[in-house]
């Protein structure tokens, strides 16, 4: 029996490369559940021609497959790149040579991207440069079609793959396995179009949301009952650099590793799905403020309104929230006026 819903159609071929990243998006993908990653690919009718961590083929077998794909002898439906493109030193790409080929990985990526019907950047590194492009960017790391917020990268901001789409940027550091599997399923079903992408060409399926949505600390946020130190239970926006109200992702709606999220782990959102998250311009775990008011206010909210509402809500903060906000465990439960806790 086959799981494939599209049995009559030929499977879509997928080829996966890793360059200047950490392999963490692949490891995260391997944590896919209900079903597992391999079953999910099978269900999507995707034939993984090669993945550097999971495939049987090695050495010459892989090099000849790459030559076939790059030369057009074998069609390629989906190219996935994980990790940023290493363009240094001086634009030569020699900071990452593809083993066994004597050729920069940058050249292989370019050639395969020209042939692929869809090009998918897996993770913020492949999309925008990501962590590898932080600091002085010693390796000249760039994304596939962005260099930070600037269109360009290896393929140029105007790049369109053979299917007419820009690079699909499944950003995140790492990606959630669901973001990858669902995007690949939609591509394989031949239903993907530019309307499925946001302004950074990320799948709207998960960037339609803010990390703030579904955050278990929303009640603390409402009353500006703020955490003061890591581990405190209150809202982390005011003091600890949390960008959940600006960050685009469904992390608190879709569980990580069964039940978690960064916020549930008691640490602030660092907005890892956004270009240039790697250089926030301030300490990651501190909120920059002017005259006591955070600079990075929630997306879509006029500053004056925020200030007015915050001072009102602070004045109205229930004792329970005020107490729990700066405690490292929730200690005051909600109460029932008609039946006091003995």
């Amino acid at each position: 029996m086959s799981l494939r819903p599209n049995d009559s159609k030929a499977p879509l071929s997928l080829f996966w490369l890793q360059s200047g990243g950490c392999g963490g998006c692949s490891q995260s993908a391997l944590g896919a559940e209900n079903p597992d990653l391999m079953t999910s690919m099978e269900a999507a009718n995707i034939d993984v021609l090669w993945h550097p961590s999971f495939s049987q083929a090695s050495g010459r077998e892989v090099v000849s497959l790459m030559e076939d794909l790059a030369g057009g002898g074998k069609p390629l439906d989906i190219l996935c790149l994980e990790g940023s493109v290493m363009s240094g030193p001086n634009g030569t790409g020699r900071f990452h040579m593809m083993p066994g080929t004597g050729k920069p990985m940058m050249e292989w990526i370019r050639q395969l991207a020209e042939k692929a019907r869809y090009v998918v950047a897996v993770g913020s590194c492949a999309a925008y440069g990501g962590i590898t492009a932080a600091g002085e960017n010693p390796g000249d790391a760039v994304g596939l079609s962005y260099e930070g917020r600037k269109p360009g990268g290896l393929l140029g901001g105007d790049f369109r793959s053979a299917a007419g789409l820009p690079v699909i940027n499944i950003s995140g550091c790492p990606i959630h396995p669901g973001w990858l599997c669902e995007t690949l399923h939609q591509i394989a079903a031949n239903t993907y179009s530019a309307t499925d992408l946001d302004e950074w060409t990320r799948p709207l399926s998960y960037t339609m949301h803010l990390v703030h949505h579904g955050c278990a600390r929303n009640e603390f946020y409402e009353y500006k009952a703020s955490a003061e130190r890591l581990c405190d239970q209150g809202c982390m926006m005011e003091n600890l650099g949390c960008k959940g109200t600006q960050a685009r992702a469904d992390c608190n709606i879709r569980a990580w590793n069964g039940s978690g999220s960064c916020l549930d782990g008691n640490y602030p959102c660092i907005n890892c799905t956004a270009p240039e998250f790697e250089e926030p311009g301030h300490d990651f775990l501190e909120t920059p403020k002017v005259a006591g008011i955070p600079i990075g206010l929630p997306t879509d909210m006029p500053k004056a309104w925020f200030v007015a509402l915050a001072s009102l809500s602070k004045a109205a903060t229930p004792v329970r929230l005020k107490h729990n906000a700066t405690a490292d465990h929730l200690s005051v439960p909600p109460s029932d006026k008609r039946k006091p806790r003995s």
Binding site: P52, M86, G135, P138, P174, C231, N257, S261
Partner: protein, 482 residues
């Protein structure tokens, strides 16, 4: 004599090329090439010290918690703080989950698929092994992936997410647990233990950890049909191909000690030189850069180390540096840890065969069993409601060293802080030790030595024996070059 360039190596973490000289059907000399440079040590310069906890884990997505632990230890050393007991327990649990998941990924997804290659078609075990372990399609994949993913639920509870959690801090763990959550942790671990006992070992964990010699292991295995467990399958293949004689290393081993609790590690710290245990001193470590694409040639003590790339350096062939302890190469990993900790099975196997493909894999699987038993104990020691973190402030000037054990071996971070910013940051990863290139006196690294003598079959372009040896170290190339 002939020369082969072997690569790309897949089913390792990151990028690797091995250049070998062959003669008379064996490898006579090898050069191990790490072909990627990213420059994390430079990325970290001038950053606020605590931001190292954002960048350092992203050196590696397969052992990101190990990188966090090393960074947190280095920062804690600089701050002169010790986490509260709960914090150490939580960090150890999170770290153990990653290390065990890595061992599992290595065995099932990286190492065993090589025995499903057509070169072994005529072996009596081939049908069973290939249907079980063929990459992405074998029957093992559909049980192992869900078991691994469920085990990682401990990360969801204790670390928010994996990889790249921020829960590990110098003062402990950000994530406190409530009483009901310890019950969830326990239940996840019981389910995982069940998978290990039914599928991987086909025996109770306590039986596995009590095996005291190679003979005892043989006797245990002789009573079972090989296909009743995946460990049995490995032992059968190993015996048939004599993996005890393959990939022997130098006899020098290093472990920084794993899973600290009030200054004492679960697995001991130390050095093993040709049969003798000695103490480890971090001041005996230096990195040689002669064969690495960096200026100058070194050797450099890591606290004063540099990372100045020079892609045109004539004497170089790798982005990996060459760490040495008192000028000597060291093998690190589960084999080194279990040997130095004194587990009788591993001491016996090393005495008989030295470090080899067989010993490395047995040590890794044994370590899974030992660590899961320790995790049960740690969960029962958690005190819900107690403190998990110390909030001491960061000094403006300080130095720190953070030593820990990743799945693949010894990981060290050397940090200095000036004017409230990171002034230097040097990292020596396990595979930097294991896959180091030649130093200034021409001594090859551990893998380069272990490859010599490996058989090369007629017409092989990617010799399968070379693949077994390379993967027996479970290399993590992204960590190596950072």
């Amino acid at each position: 004599m002939s020369r082969l360039v072997v690569g790309p190596f897949n089913r390792v973490e990151g990028d690797l090329e091995v250049r070998i000289e062959c003669g008379d059907g064996t490898v006579t000399s090898a050069e191990v090439v790490s072909p990627l440079y990213r420059g994390f040590e430079r990325i970290l310069l001038n950053k606020p010290p605590l931001d190292a906890l954002v960048y350092a884990p992203r050196i590696c997505g397969i052992c990101s918690v190990s990188q966090s632990v090393a960074a947190a230890h280095a920062l804690a050393d600089a701050m002169d703080i010790t986490p509260p007991r709960n914090g150490s327990l939580a960090v150890n649990l999170v770290h153990a989950v990653e290390n065990i998941a890595d061992h599992l990924t290595h065995f099932y997804l990286f190492f065993m698929p090589d025995f499903a290659r057509p070169v072994y078609q005529s072996e009596p075990w081939f049908e069973d092994i290939s249907s079980r372990f063929t990459a992405m399609k074998g029957t093992a994949v559909e049980t192992v992936l869900p078991a691994r993913a469920q085990f990682l639920h401990i990360m969801g509870i204790l670390a928010g997410k994996w990889p790249h959690t921020l829960s590990i801090q110098p003062g402990g763990s950000t994530r406190t647990v409530a009483a009901a959550e310890t019950a969830r942790l326990k239940a996840v671990l019981v389910a995982f233990r069940r998978f290990l006992e039914r599928t991987l070992f086909g025996a109770p964990l306590k039986q596995i950890v009590s095996l005291e010699s190679g003979e005892a292991l043989k006797a245990w295995f002789a009573n079972k049909a090989p296909n009743t467990s995946d460990f049995g399958r490995f032992l059968h293949v190993s015996e048939s191909l004599d993996l005890s004689a393959l990939g022997r290393s130098s006899g020098n081993y290093l472990s920084y000690g794993a899973y600290q609790m009030a200054g004492t590690p679960l697995f001991a710290q130390g050095v093993w030189r040709n049969g003798d245990p000695t103490d480890f001193s971090p001041h005996s470590v230096a990195e040689d850069l002669t064969s690495s694409w960096y200026k100058p040639d070194g050797p450099e003590a890591p606290a004063a180390g540099t990372t100045d790339p020079d892609a045109d350096k004539e004497s170089a062939y790798s982005w990996c540096k060459a760490p040495r302890l008192d000028g000597e190469i060291m093998e690190t990993g589960a084999l080194a840890r279990q040997l130095i900790d004194g587990h009788p099975l591993i001491r016996d196997l090393v005495a008989r065969h030295g470090g080899s493909v067989h010993t490395r894999v047995v040590a890794r699987l044994l370590e899974i069993a030992r660590t899961v038993l320790a995790m049960e104990d740690w969960i029962s020691q958690l005190e819900p409601g107690g403190a998990f973190i110390d909030h001491t402030a960061m000094p403006d000037q300080a130095e720190g060293i953070g030593l820990t054990e990743a799945a693949r071996g010894s990981l060290g971070h050397w940090l200095s802080i000036k004017n409230g910013k990171i002034a230097n940051y040097q990292i020596i990863a396990p595979t930097t030790w294991n896959f180091s290139p030649r130093d200034r006196i021409g001594t090859p690294g551990p893998l380069e030595q272990a490859l010599v003598g490996a058989p090369v079959r007629e017409g092989e372009t990617d010799p399968v024996a070379v693949q077994h040896i390379v993967r027996s170290f479970d290399p993590c190339m992204v960590c190596t070059v950072h």
